[in-house]
Symmetry: C2
Amino acid sequence: MLQLGQLDRTDDRPPYRQIAALLREAIDLGALAPGEKLPSETALTQHFGVARMTVRHAILELRGEGLVAAEHGRGVFVRAMPPVRRLASDRFARKHRAGSDGKAAFLVEAEKAGYTADVDQLRIFRDKASEGVAERLRLPLGSELVVRERRYLANGRPIEIATSYLPAVIAGGTAIEEPDPGPGGIYARVEEVGHQLTRFTEEVGARMPSPNERKTLELGASVPVLTVVRTAFDAADVAVEVCDTVKVASAYKLEYDFPAR
Amino acid sequence: MLQLGQLDRTDDRPPYRQIAALLREAIDLGALAPGEKLPSETALTQHFGVARMTVRHAILELRGEGLVAAEHGRGVFVRAMPPVRRLASDRFARKHRAGSDGKAAFLVEAEKAGYTADVDQLRIFRDKASEGVAERLRLPLGSELVVRERRYLANGRPIEIATSYLPAVIAGGTAIEEPDPGPGGIYARVEEVGHQLTRFTEEVGARMPSPNERKTLELGASVPVLTVVRTAFDAADVAVEVCDTVKVASAYKLEYDFPAR
DNA sequence: CACGCCTAGTCGTCCGTACGAGGAGCCGGT
DNA sequence: ACCGGCTCCTCGTACGGACGACTAGGCGTG
């Protein structure tokens, strides 16, 4: 049974922060393991001799930090931290596509780093180009696009949402419109139809997630996301794909290497 | 005077979310301009006919999104968004150092983009290399370093903290140890002592700021920061500088360009 | 044995109240 | 004119009570 300390009335921190600190400590020290259930709000209320709202306030703070997640009707549970993925800027090098037996790059990388990887919530559909996408693909507003949405998971926890936009004139009718795009992924298919990829640009930002993203990525209240918008160019410097990704910030480190010129 | 809608009791969203949505809308539409004060909690309580805790809950949500900031004893204010700086990966190209009349790159860029820029809280001192820095500079732990800390401001608002670490054997005794490193900045000085810069690596991440960073960057409760750790290499592939920066996420977009190989 | 119902436990939301602490402005004393 | 205190308004924190919604597990019925 978990042993927690008591409030210190001489401490100048308000009780709810002290309670949050005690729980945080228990989590950091492993007294509360990932996946484990915290004492119920009622139990904490009695233990500390405070009102339920005070306990809730403390738990709200931990939820905000992404340390715990509440499940309605079940309890509050310690969240497992996803492993950190380091994304080097050569991750789309052709060599990585070659030897991977047709497995998606994400799965290969997971295997090496020792975590299980999954892709789900795959949606493929046609849509008209919005302003941002049209501009990056250098297409007229409203051009026909093939859109691939998917969610990536590591150790069963969602860590990234990705949406790819490709001009329908390039991707239409290819395996890119199939749930399984085949060996080497969609970039291999793009190259097969005559667009050899030569360079990428990425725009990186960070912000708080929208309520929708928060839900899809199963995020706490104040866990930020990294946004990466990648544009792929072929040998003729034609933009062939825009990939908009929203990543759980705590699960990623991006690495770039560039010359001083 | 601000006109807000009323609650819709048939709406299945809870009242506090509806109130948050109404306020968010007012901010998005500009009915509540940046810097402007929201109606007080008491006023909102009366307007919507709910308890104060319900209004507070709504405002807490907006604070979580970084849209507003509460100031104890004054009120709740719409946060002003600092101008967005786009940092391209060629921003350290030598050409940018050449024509700038000795002005720091940051100031030149600000002039072009139409905002005022300042640098303050400059601190220069010697220190021993910590683990992370020593590893990146490929030096023994505890090696002597020249450290330059500074804070960048745009339109008077702090947007970035930067700390540069250079081996004392390279930077010691040069203008790098002076408050004003001279035309072209510290990279020009590094090249003058025989280390021509050839490439950089950057590691990008995002997280919530520490209380200290929150204070220095004058951030609200839940505004994330971008962390960029840049390492500069010379022609002999010797690491000559590590620059650790913490940037207000909403003020930055990082741009990278890399080949597919 | 399978299924649905019921109940206890849990979190989500909301009410009303109370006091403390920080900020700003009025206002009188000096 | 200056300064200090007072008061009012603001947000921060806390109390206790109430009901709703969701989950899980026991229990009875078919």
